[in-house]
Amino acid sequence: MIRAAKQSLLIAAKDLRIESRSRQTISLVVVLGILIVTVLGLGLGGQRPDGPAATAVLWVAYLFSGVLCFEKTMAVERQDGALAGLLLAPLDRGVIYLGKLLSNVVLMFAVAGVITPVGILFFGFDLSKAPLGFLAIMGMSMLGFAAVGTLFAAMVSSSRLQGGLLAMVVFPITLPLVIASTQLTSRLYQGDETWNGSAFAVLVAFDAIFLVVSWLAFEWVIEP
């Protein structure tokens, strides 16, 4: 078991090193995130949006930049057939999934780390009231989103398709995540202290179900 964990860490480290080497995705995705936040913010009339609108703006930026990250980390494997080299190594394919999931989550967090301050700067979202709560909710949502995104990125990209398809596949499936997290964050910032148990349950259930299902399904889907 420890070997598998070490191997998936190795794969994730390799992805992040490639990313730090070219920094091509990070810059592209961050600019896109900022663009989305700006467009949506101006679309909302530029004045300070309240809780749900703020989280919605951030959410749309996270989702689209997340999808780009998933595509890039899979494209790196496809480029020179490196995926065949990976599949040839004596390791279970679930390990490859965990490695890619880890690098995707780290990339998404890095991108969110840049977009969120921009959102705060432009629109004055005051996350100060419960920053940890916001971080926890967004963290869990991104984990669930990356779980589904990594699985479908392995499939969709392998048929060399245009970008839009991955977003179209992942968004409907992750709608429950979007609803649950926006309900939770808006409740957090609306001040009414009633903790929305069922929304949190949806979040936890989504992460649990789709981490397991994607991890199992990856085996069937990945081909050189």
Partner: protein, 233 residues
């Protein structure tokens, strides 16, 4: 063999249309109007069977997707796509009847009530299934992507239902049904379910025939790309 099959099919559709006619007659003549909402409530007897059959069709896609991944035979894949097309059709029915009912009851074509939100999300899930399939070229790749999506989408349905209920709800939940109303509901289940499975079988048989003709044409002649006609319809 096909001759005997057609006879069976014709009989099946005759029975279905008969059951439909009976249900319509009962609806018009026998079922009383609901006290609070009036005659518009009668949409319920079509709305609910459509919703339940949508769920059955989604379940069929789920089972067929697992079947494909397990046995890798194209038979399962054709069944899954037939189920998905009928699921989207039925879900459109659910949405339309729901919106018409909403327009009459609250004067708005669309509100983010849990039931309507759930139907919309379900509709999106399975329309994306068809779009994804249509845009993957190689047959085997399309079947695998479709199968995994079919499974994931179905596992997502309970979560979609739960998250839809998180939305603020403005109208009363279910109303109590009198004896006659329950009978009408039962009567309406029969034709709608028969039509659902009739359409799925029809679409499935058509997929099988198209696949055979494409194989035949591709073996000897210049390949006739019949799959273009499959597309979304």
């Amino acid at each position: 063999m096909p001759q005997q099959n057609n006879g069976l099919l014709r009989a099946f559709w005759a029975v279905t249309l008969l059951a439909l006619a009976a249900a319509v007659a009962v609806l018009i003549a026998y079922t009383p109007d609901e006290a609070t909402m009036g005659p518009v409530q009668k949409i319920f007897y079509l709305h609910l069977p459509l919703a339940i059959n949508t769920f059955l069709a989604c379940l069929l896609v789920f089972v067929a997707s697992i079947g494909y991944l397990w046995q890798r035979s194209v038979w399962w894949d054709d069944l899954a796509v037939a189920g998905a097309k009928v699921a989207v059709l039925l879900c459109s029915g659910v949405l339309i009847t729901g919106m018409i009912w909403g327009k009459s009851a609250w004067g708005l074509w669309w509100t983010w009530s849990p039931r309507l939100t759930f139907s919309l999300m379900l509709w999106l899930l399975y329309v994306v299934y068809l779009t994804v399939r249509a845009s993957v070229e190689s047959g085997q790749r399309r079947a695998v992507v479709g199968a995994v999506y079919g499974i994931t989408a179905f596992l997502d349905v309970p979560l979609v239902w739960l998250s839809a209920r998180l939305m603020p709800d403005i109208h009363p939940s279910s109303i109590t049904l009198s004896g006659e109303m329950k009978l009408t509901l039962a009567l309406w289940f029969l034709p709608v379910t028969l039509m659902t499975f009739g359409l799925i079988i029809a679409r499935f048989r058509l997929n099988r025939i198209i696949r055979d003709t494409t194989d035949e044409t591709q073996r000897g002649f210049e390949p006739v790309n019949l799959h273009v006609s499959e597309g979304i319809a």
